[in-house]
Amino acid sequence: MPVGAAVSLVLGTMPGAGAGTGTAARAVELTWTGIGAPILMAVLQLALFIFLAPLLIGVIRQVRARLEGRAGAGIWQPWRDVRKLLAKEPVHAADSSWMLSVGPIVLLVSSLLLCVLLPLVGTLALPLIPSDLFVIVSVMLIGVVALALVGLDGGTAFGGMGSSRHMTVAALVEPTLLLSIYALSIPAGSSTLSLIVQTRLQTPAVIISPVSLLAMVALAIAIMAETSRLPIDNPSTHLELTMLHEAMVLESLRSRPGLARARFLAQARRPARPARQPHRAVGRAHRLHRSGPPPRRLLGCRQGARPGHRAERRRGLPRQGAPVQRARAARGVLRPCPARRDRLLPGRLGASVFETTYPQLIGLCTGTLLLTSALMVWRHSMLASIRLLAVQGLALAALVAVIGVQKGELEVILVAVLVLLVKGLGLPWVLAHESKATTRTDEAPRLNPTASLLTVALLTILAYVVSSRVLARDTSISAHAAPIGLAMVLIGFLLLVTRRQARSQLIGFLVLDNGIATVAFLTSGGVPLVLELGISLDVLLVVMILYVFAGRMHNKFGNTDIDQLRKLHD
């Protein structure tokens, strides 16, 4: 029976538990439990186990000898062996390195640390080094690694074999140890071994449970593996095939005190392991730190809010009785910014006239845009298309100007001027100028006029359906006209797909761009000047590139039929 478990069970109720009765006793006990007791406990444990470890081996061997019918060497033989080995002369091989001297020392330190940290005699923990399960296992593994490296250092096949098998066992023992102790610590909520032991001692009835039993069996197997007992390893075998740890130990034969140390600490680990059969753990209530209140919404005002918007928002507020509460709730709502149009237009009469004609103006502009797009699909001639494009540009500029006047923002009006210059005048002029040198009419496009106009109708319907889904909540007038922009985009695409000549395709692209601009202006109420400048630049670039491109095509092929460029594939 493991010595450590017995001792632990008997002495487990020593210092940590009881409370003192008198005040003097209480004062003494406070200082005692603070620092003095843990240190004394550690030293006591260490001394006890250094003494007991070879004794344990002696007992095991004596029992086996008696069972085999031999006299046996007595239980004190391991101590005598240690004394004998310590008195021998150390021999190192010429090729060995510092590892041979340092390795056994590291192994000894790790084993002794285990004796200090484990709750073998009492369950007091040192203040900042809890006997935490991972810390214990890692300290043990340092010793394992040191031994493995000593085995490899010898440079013989024998040591390598022992080292390899030893490390394989260690690699599989570590998860077993960690998992079984974890399983036993689940009810406790803490993986500190001293806590687990303490609470199992207090409630021993919980030892019998499926989890406990399975974990203890697993732990027993792991202990047998690590301490080189059968059936995993035979510590007294002389056959190389059956050696795991002996091979490494024999490598340190060349260093006799090293062997003494190695033998000694191999024995020292045995009691430490069985003592880790824990008993039960107690749960400790932990306070959960609740997260703070959710952050408040930032208050401010929204740009471009319409009166209709405000009404909608208020409708969404919960009906609350007290006006104070409603006011507070209202403060959480984003209020629309005060309109700035009063600053721009003089007089209130002009403002009201504009207010009434504003929807009609918007309708006029967007209608012109759609009409010109549809006409462009119908007319094939290049010159007609260019003229229609100019009209479209004018309508777009007018649209932007109307929006700008309605909102009273100078920037938007500047954008309108820019659009007029670029799209209404500049681009059509460029296109007209360079197309004078080429054929006037476009060859028959892929779709005949009837089919193409039907397609335009279908696309417009689709644009309205999509817009009604996407812009469902925006009830302003300009939002009503946004489907026009989407329809223009789709028509522009149709032109791109069905026209043959490069320049016709350019016109289709420009219609597409106009459509995008329309949607942007109508839904956002004005694009910043910078953005519009950037977009115009982009469009200009495209036109220039296509201009050059069409010129090259014309030089090479005599016309600019795109279908001649069929080699553009891999």
Binding site: A94, I129, S163, S164, A170, Y182, H286, V470, H569
Partner: protein, 429 residues
Amino acid sequence: MSGAMVKIGVYGALLVCVRLLPSGPPWWGVLILVLGGVSAVYGILQASVASDLKVLLAYSTTENMGLVFLGLGASVLLRGYHATAAADAALVAALLLMVSHAAFKTTLFLGAGAVAHATGELNLDRLGGLGKRMPWTAGAFGLASLSAASLPITSGFVAEWMLLQSLIHGARLDGEVVSVAASIAMPLAVAVLALTAGLALLTFVKAYGIAFLARPRSRKASIAREVPWVMRVPLALGALAVVGLGLVPGPLSAGIAAAVGPVIVPDVRTVGLAGVSFAGIDVVLDPGTLVILAALVLVPILVIVALGSRRHPTRVDPLPWAGGGSRLRPRMQYTATSYAEPLVRVFDDVLRPSRDVEVTHVGESRYLVEKVHVEQTVSDVIETRLYRPVLNAAQRFGVLARRAQDGSIHRYLGYSFAALLVVLIAVSL
């Protein structure tokens, strides 16, 4: 590259899970946890059987990143079930693992580079005995290996400890079960962590022991010399970082907690000698105190050893024991492949090694053997069964898609137009 570049992926995941969408559903956590766990276990398995030093280190990076994702997944999962203290601890642990991995992996790769520079060899089966010829490299590599195997007192140990604590405390909250998913996922995560820790131990004992201990296994290794001081300085700095970061986990974790950001604030404190403590899950670790304790235990032992060596000085003998003969040759030593052979046997269903033994006999005799050639290859199952078929399928699809590219610009424009129509219809449905 290993120190910083592989972390970009983790950074992206962190941005999404921690900064952008911290209150995601728990199944995200489960998914990340599973992927991380599989990477970790498979990575370290492949590392433990690798013979090339750089392949070994690369697979070890896979394992560490898998563990980082394991921590991140646990954090997301636990946060989804409102176990915030354990979730925060898991997140800090994952980040700490990233930091420590950067430190030790950099040092390891620098060491591998030094070895390649000195010997021109990276195959562990041909190295050996470099510890005596290149002491600085050996020392730095050894310290970094300790960290990679999560042994005290390095930064890898602290990171793994923290991750384990967060997983252990994650299954229960105030004594109650957090959720069924967490109760299943947390123990499995602990199992994965423990297994990878054990296998990492074997991997790095193999890497360090075979390369730097014992005798050189080839001529190139026997003529190695220490690298110039320009290469030694980064190695030393890396090793110092590895040990230094391990001794100050408190301030380091506090720094990491501050970096996690305004949305999530882990409750981590410094106690004792720069130790770390998580008040939420009530765990504490102070490596400094552990060092002091170890020193206290060490002093008497050293005294005894010193006294002993004065009475019996060491004798150096040129003859190592070789099983009854003096024919010991360096090629008789265990190699990296043979070191990992028991492990290959245990995991042979996963690794599926292919072994080829070719025996050349002397003349016509069937009994006299002239030469035996043994070859073992372990292939990466994920690469052959997952990546390669996916890549092949993508390539086939690409070839098929090429048929749509016939050169007609109108058709290409038509594709864009059709795509726009489809999107619009889908949006309006």
